[in-house]
């Protein structure tokens, strides 16, 4: 009854009014008749007098029949809509700017949420942990490593006891897989038998990998599909169970499908298939201590802390370290300090509720920074809008005063002002939401690697929706605040001058804020652009143009004879080198920037350093464009008695003496240095060249060929496959790319930051210009009369122009200064992302300042021109 009827009555107001009138009319008629019978002179008037104020009673009756505040709200809304319709340009500009700002922020936030904030879709993810240990210190500093060998994992698993259940998971790699005749590259993750049990994942069909699938290498040909893979490749048909799937040459049986929504432990690299660790490519992966391929996760028993688990497993870990490398030295006294420190590495158990993520590691700083950038743009947009709303409110002060005169309460006025700003904010939010959903995938695409695109579950998540709503609420409060304050002050017949002065000030305050914030953004994006440019143009020590990289791997089981396989690699190299259009060909175990590396600690006279080891073929230096400064290159079929070092290593080990011909200790033997190469970047473009030890041609299971040619990758790929087929070598091409692509891959973050931050700061600058333009236009419009007078009295144009600009220049200058200080303060946080540029470098400041000054002048040009053009006679007439 009550509420619903009162709500419905909101829409029946006309009928209600008619009913009230009818009821009152009846009363008045009866009263009139009665008075007439009694002999009154003017019965109708008398009746009306006795009845009282009809309008007021109708109003009271209406109030009794409606939901009061809702009625007010609908009124305010209708009024706001009418206002919006009357000023479409202002509304579109305001809502558009807000939509852009909110959309940008929400897009960044949704990627952040998907990559960083969301937990794995398993029960009690907060009880999951991941084991880590301090990584070997790189030239730049240490990081935490989490790759373990399988035998070590086994010992850890046994020793965890009741405190936790451990499982191992490999990284997710794209591998060729085929069902029937269809071949495709799918993402595969190898997991130990108890993985699914520990995680708590349920099968959607069939069964998942069990502990009994993980006992003997090569003896458990089973595979589990992910739900998405099952839908996409098998049409979600139950027939998929029991079918055979070929994975990297091995036949596996599909035994089950995982629950929907589970994509493995690596966020951003969802797995399509899971196979038992025992089925990994070669036996050595699970039997040798030298191969560290697995991340070790565990689920803590209730009441057990991560530190307890780490302490419990520490002895096993330390023992394993000793076994692995302690044997190279005869006693502890002989070990270099680095090795000693390494042997004392502490095991730690880190929370793994969010799984692991290479994507996250690479981009979390950048993403947070982008979120900050977008937030700043949002603030600038809000300032702009507040200014617009203020101008709008000023124009309506007459209306506000009338309302106050008619008896509107302050709260009523405030409610109306906030409804208007809320409407615009709502429009902006809706636009922003749509923009966010559309652009989040685009943002992700910017961050992608082409061969392994990051697949995150982006989508209208509750958190994103909540974020947008929150942004909208904040925006509407912010937008409405000043006009509301202004409305509160409105008094009938308030002083005009007082109002004008006040209005000018707040407009300038907003300009100040916008200029300051835009400065920060512009300076920031200049820093990123300069960094990117530095990275792109730095001399890398190798020639990256016209260079193709091909990853090859031994197809099928490894041939028993080592020399045979080496001969095959060398043979292929010569074949490719002989192809038309190929200017050089060589191979190495990894490409220079692949992210894989093999290291060896070196120490000499108290200093220690981490040297990189790279086995390369003959002709490597020539193909890569790295100069050999002294000595010679390896000869084909070299025995492992010779070594080539680079400048950095030579300087460290041999000092300023020519190293060619000298002996160098490696792996307990003494090798002869036959050549000295220039320094070339390795592993990371940002780090300076590390000391490098190049070993002759010792690659077995896999290698990367570097091919110097102007042919396209697709073209070369076809020719390479043909040569392989012709030679009959048991090798397979896994991937073909250009060196430039590989370089670009390592700089994705810098690219993204540069591009997006400059996009956002451009928007902010435009908004700031709009702000300046708005303030000056208003000024000129208001003071046309005064300008006319001055001009009539003989003021030169330049003075007028200066006066107009002078209105806003203190605000701008203060804004520049404040922006500079703010940037100096915040620049610390960007230090890690810059390259070749210190955060205190003056160049970005100058760039930002210069740009803003130019933009401000350009923005102010039109109002200034208008002021100059004011003809005195017209202005004076218009007073």
């Amino acid at each position: 009854m009550g509420w619903t009827r009162r709500f419905v009555n909101l829409f029946r107001q006309d009928r209600l009014a008619a009913e009230f009138e009818e009821e009152i009319a009846f009363h008045l008629e009866e009263r009139t008749r009665e008075l007439a019978e009694r002999g009154s002179a003017a019965p109708e008037l008398e009746a009306r007098r006795r009845f009282g104020n009809t309008l007021r009673q109708c109003e009271a009756m209406r109030e009794a029949r409606l939901i009061g505040w809702m009625d007010d709200l609908s009124r305010d809304l209708r009024h706001a809509v009418r206002l919006v319709r009357r000023n479409p340009i202002m509304t579109v500009a305001a809502a558009g700017a807000l939509a852009l700002a909110i959309g940008g922020t929400a897009a960044v936030f949704s990627v952040l949420d998907a990559a960083i904030l969301r937990t794995l879709p398993v029960p009690s993810p907060d009880r999951l942990v991941r084991l880590t240990y301090p990584g070997k210190p790189l030239p730049s500093g240490s990081e935490e490593a989490d790759q373990f060998s399988y035998p070590l994992f086994r010992s850890l698993r046994e020793n965890a006891g009741h405190d936790a259940t451990l499982f191992a998971a490999s990284g997710v790699r794209r591998t060729d897989a085929g069902v029937g005749s269809i071949q495709e590259a799918l993402s595969v993750q190898y997991v130990s038998g108890e993985a699914f049990g520990v995680l708590g994942v349920q099968p959607a069909l069939g069964r998942l990998i069990q502990p009994y699938d993980d006992l003997t290498p090569g003896a458990h040909p089973v595979v589990v599909l992910s739900y998405r893979c099952w839908q996409r490749h098998f049409g979600a048909s139950p027939e998929a169970l029991g079918r055979n799937l070929t994975l990297a040459g091995t036949e596996l049986e599909i035994v089950g499908v995982a629950q929907p929504g589970f994509d493995g432990t690596e966020v951003g690299a969802p797995a399509d298939l899971w196979a038992p660790t025992m089925m990994m490519g070669s036996r050595e992966m699970v039997t040798e201590r030298g191969y560290r391929n697995f991340v070790v996760f565990g689920r803590l028993r209730f009441g057990v802390f991560p530190e307890q688990l780490a302490a419990r497993l520490q002895p096993v870990f330390t023992a394993s370290l000793y076994e692995e490398i302690g044997g190279r030295w005869r006693s502890r006294a002989e070990m270099p300090p680095q090795v000693l420190a390494y042997l004392q590495s502490k095991l730690a158990a880190r929370p793994a509720a969010h799984g692991t993520s290479g994507f996250r590691r690479r981009f979390s700083t950048a993403l947070w920074m982008l979120a900050g950038v977008a937030g700043l743009v949002l603030m600038v947009a809000c300032c702009n809008l507040a200014n617009l709303m203020l101008a709008h409110a000023s124009a309506r002060r007459g209306e506000m005063e009338m309302r106050v005169a008619l008896g509107a309460s302050r709260s009523r006025l405030l409610r109306q002002v906030f409804t208007e700003s809320a409407l615009i904010a709502a429009l902006g939010c809706a636009g922003g939401f749509v923009l966010a959903i559309a652009s989040a995938p685009a943002l992700l695409a910017l961050l992608d690697r082409p061969d392994a695109p990051a697949r995150l579950a982006l989508g209208p998540d509750l958190r994103v929706v909540a974020f947008v709503l929150l942004a909208g609420v904040v925006a509407s409060l912010f937008l409405g605040a000043l006009p509301a304050w202004r409305a509160c002050l409105s008094r009938p017949g308030g002083s005009v001058r007082e109002r004008l002065e006040a209005r000018g000030l707040s407009g300038r305050v907003f300009v100040f804020a916008q200029v300051a914030l835009s400065f920060v953004l512009l300076a920031g994006s200049s820093m990123f652009i300069i960094s990117l440019n530095n990275l792109l143009t730095l001399p890398a020590g190798f020639e990256r143009r016209d260079l193709l990289l091909a990853d090859l791997i031994v197809d099928g089981p490894m041939p028993a004879s080592e020399t045979r396989i080496r001969a095959a690699w060398e043979d292929l190299r010569l074949r490719i080198g002989g192809l038309p259009g190929v200017r050089g060909c060589a191979y190495s175990r990894w490409s220079l920037l692949s992210g894989a590396r093999s290291t060896m600690p070196l120490s000499r006279s108290g200093e220690s350093v981490e040297a990189m080891i790279l086995p390369v073929s003959s002709g490597f230096f020539e193909t890569m464009g790295t100069k050999l400064q002294k000595g010679r290159d390896f000869l084909p079929g070299e025995e492992e008695r010779e070594v080539i070092v680079n400048h950095a290593l030579a300087r460290f080990w041999f000092g300023n003496v020519d190293p060619v011909g000298k002996q160098f200790p490696y792996g307990g033997r003494r090798l002869t240095v036959v050549g000295l190469s220039e320094d070339a970047r390795y592993y990371s473009l940002r780090e300076s060249a590390p000391p490098m030890i190049y070993l002759p041609g010792g690659t077995d299971a896999y290698a990367t060929y570097a091919i110097r040619t102007s042919a396209s990758p697709v073209d070369m790929d076809a020719r390479l496959r043909r040569e392989l087929a012709n030679s009959g070598a048991p090798l397979r091409v896994r991937r073909m790319r250009t060196q430039s692509e590989e370089v670009a891959d390592t700089m994705v973050r810098e690219h993204v930051m540069a591009r997006l931050s400059s996009f956002f700061s451009f928007i902010a600058m435009v908004l700031a210009c709009l702000g300046v333009h708005g303030v000056l236009s208003c000024l000129v419009a208001r003071r046309t009369h005064e300008i006319g007078v001055r001009s009539a009295l003989g003021a030169p144009r330049s003075r007028i122009a200066r006066a107009v600009l002078g209105h806003v220049s203190p605000a701008m200058i203060l804004g520049l200064i404040a922006g500079g200080l703010l940037t100096a303060g915040l620049a610390r946080f960007t230090e890690s992302m810059l390259f070749g540029l210190r955060s205190s470098s003056p160049l970005p400041f100058c760039l930002a300042g210069g740009l803003l000054v130019l933009a401000g002048l350009a923005a102010g040009a039109i109002p200034v021109v208008r002021a100059i053009r004011v003809s005195p006679s017209t202005a004076l007439r218009e007073c």
Binding site: M1, G2, R6, E19, F20, E22, E23, I24, A25, F26, H27, E29, E30, R31, R50, F51, G52, N53, T54, R56, Q57, A60, M61, E63, A64, R65, I67, G68, W69
Partner: protein, 110 residues
């Protein structure tokens, strides 16, 4: 939503409920007449203020209303007491007698 009633309004409510209980269903004009005649013209309420009170009571569920065609073309809205209205009337009567009893006792003994 519903602001607390003034004393005047609660007194008016009580009168309306009592009249409807005694005299049965009637329209607003009739109720106004009754108030005048019963109180011997001592209570001449501003007639208009009766109607918002009637509508308020109708929203509260104490009285029900219906349109009825009387003589002539004009329709009239007839109000009648509901069960809840009767309960409210009893409660209000008790309250009034308590209050007025207290006041008279004070006047006697103060």
């Amino acid at each position: 939503m519903v602001r607390t009633k003034t004393d005047f309004e609660s007194a008016l409510d009580l009168l309306v409920l009592k009249i409807l209980a005694r005299r049965g269903p009637m329209h607003g004009y009739g109720i106004a007449q009754q108030i005048e005649s019963i109180s011997e013209e001592a209570l001449r309420v501003e007639e208009g203020s009766l109607y918002p009170a009637l509508h308020r009571m109708e929203e509260s569920g104490w009285i029900d209303a219906e349109w009825a065609t009387g003589e002539g073309k004009r329709r009239a809205r007839i109000y009648q007491l509901t069960v809840a209205g009767r309960r409210q009337l009893r409660a209000e009567e008790e309250r009034w007698s308590r209050v007025s009893g207290g006041v008279s006792r004070i006047l006697e003994f103060a």
